[in-house]
Symmetry: C2
Subunit: 279 residues, 2 copies
């Protein structure tokens, strides 16, 4: 089948690499609003040809939307307007509910499959594309009852080919889950980066002295605002609740220190340690 | 030279592995208050022989203290009481000021070198020992003006042999640095783990769905209370200040979301991204 990838960055580029390895696409077409990214993706061999969005819609069996979520919001209705009943469009965005609402009544809604592969790195652009990025990770598939069975089958084939495991939920459940297990981690890393950089300016903390622990905790703070501001905007309510829940636990740990209550601190750390059983 | 390692866990065991590879020790002796850990370390070949603390003090040129910081606080004065002018004791603990004060007036203070290698993992015990753990990392060396030149030279030889880079500072500077670049990261990871686990119990967030981002941010939450409660206790003042500085940045990000001020959110994320230049 012919697969078009809209957005040739980390996620789109990594999909392109893995789909090529899996041998599932007879031809991989690429679309990117940045001429520089598009040219680089072609140079790296991520896609076979560059086309326009209209070209992709005319020539593809499957259209993968791998752009920031604000761009998906604009693109998806336009793609559904033009899509034929033999084609499938799949989005790979990190938020789902707002998008689900936006196309809920669209006559071609059943050609669309809403998906969120829980994989990524802190890097962006075609050069960040990584073969095997999705292997063993999970793709959250949302509201599949609104997608045509053949569209679901096509999407599952693609995701299976790149090594993803499946989980099914509503777009509303998705956004709450994602707020905790993905979006909150980014807020935390951004805040940690800002706090440590501020100390750096005051001449005290020196991140270059830091070991692997700090690097690991702060890693997501390298993620770009182009991708993340639209995510926070679209999932604002859930992210705000997750920030409050997190802040309350920070304060709880702080109160143990203030009160010299090291028994309680130990109990909380033991509870936190149990994340070993969940990851 | 004969080197004794007191504490055969992640740090002590990893030092043993790298010292053996470097060929610096004619014999490696091991001490551990846990018989189980001691036997396992011997079985793994981390050390050549198990000895008592007194045995280590009698037979070694160098004594490395690789136990939790509360145990270092108890052990170091005892080791200094018995140490000979040809021997060197080095501690590898994560806090420094309280310890520095405790032995400042000891007649054998100059046989002691205060060090903190900024390397580790979230795992503990002899099985967590990792060859190459220290390679390319930094060791913070504190108050070297109070250590004898030959003791400094011995310590630097050992640290150089395992691939560590050197940074020099006072124990007071160390504790403030460490609060930001190491201890705060642990508080943040513990709080994130607690918040997400709470959602898990409510049936919403599901950490097993999480991608690499959450796993990276929360990794340090697996670190044991045996090691970390004493660190927080000994560096309480600086950790409390670091928590406040961090919490203020979380609230700043939250206020952007509450006020729908996405321009300011973008600016803060761009600032946070600059951690790329420091790591």
């Amino acid at each position: 089948m012919t697969i078009s990838i809209i957005g040739l960055g980390l996620i789109g580029g990594s999909f392109a690499k893995d789909l090529r390895i899996a041998g599932l696409a007879t031809e991989l077409l690429g679309v990117d609003s940045s001429q520089e990214h598009a040219a680089r993706a072609l140079q790296l061999g991520l896609v076979d040809r560059l086309v326009s969005l209209d070209g992709a819609l005319q020539q593809s069996d499957v259209i993968l939307l791998a752009v920031p979520v604000n761009a998906i919001e604009t693109l998806l209705p336009r793609v559904l307007d033009a899509i034929r009943p033999t084609q499938t469009v799949i989005d790979l965005g990190s938020t789902k509910f707002l998008l689900a609402e936006a196309v809920r009544q669209h006559p071609n809604r059943d050609r669309y499959v809403a998906a969120h592969p829980m994989a990524g790195t802190e890097n962006a652009g075609p050069d960040a594309a990584l073969a095997g990025l999705f292997k063993g990770k999970t793709v959250l598939l949302c509201d599949l009852e609104w997608s045509a069975p053949d569209a679901c089958k096509t999407a599952l084939e693609l995701f299976y080919a790149v090594g993803l495991k499946f989980e099914f939920m509503t777009s509303e459940q998705h956004d709450r889950h994602a707020a905790y297990v993905s979006h909150l981690s980014h807020v935390v890393a951004y805040a940690l980066s800002l706090a440590v950089q501020n100390e750096e300016k005051a001449g005290y903390a020196v991140p270059r002295l830091a070991g692997g622990g700090f690097a690991s905790t702060v890693r997501l703070a390298k993620s770009s605002p182009e991708m993340w501001v639209p995510i926070f905007k679209q999932n604002r309510e859930h992210v705000l609740k997750a920030i409050d829940a997190f802040s309350e636990r920070v304060q709880e740990l702080k109160r143990c220190l203030e009160a010299n209550d090291f028994d309680k601190l130990e109990a909380l750390i033991r509870e936190a340690n149990q994340i070993r059983n969940l990851l």
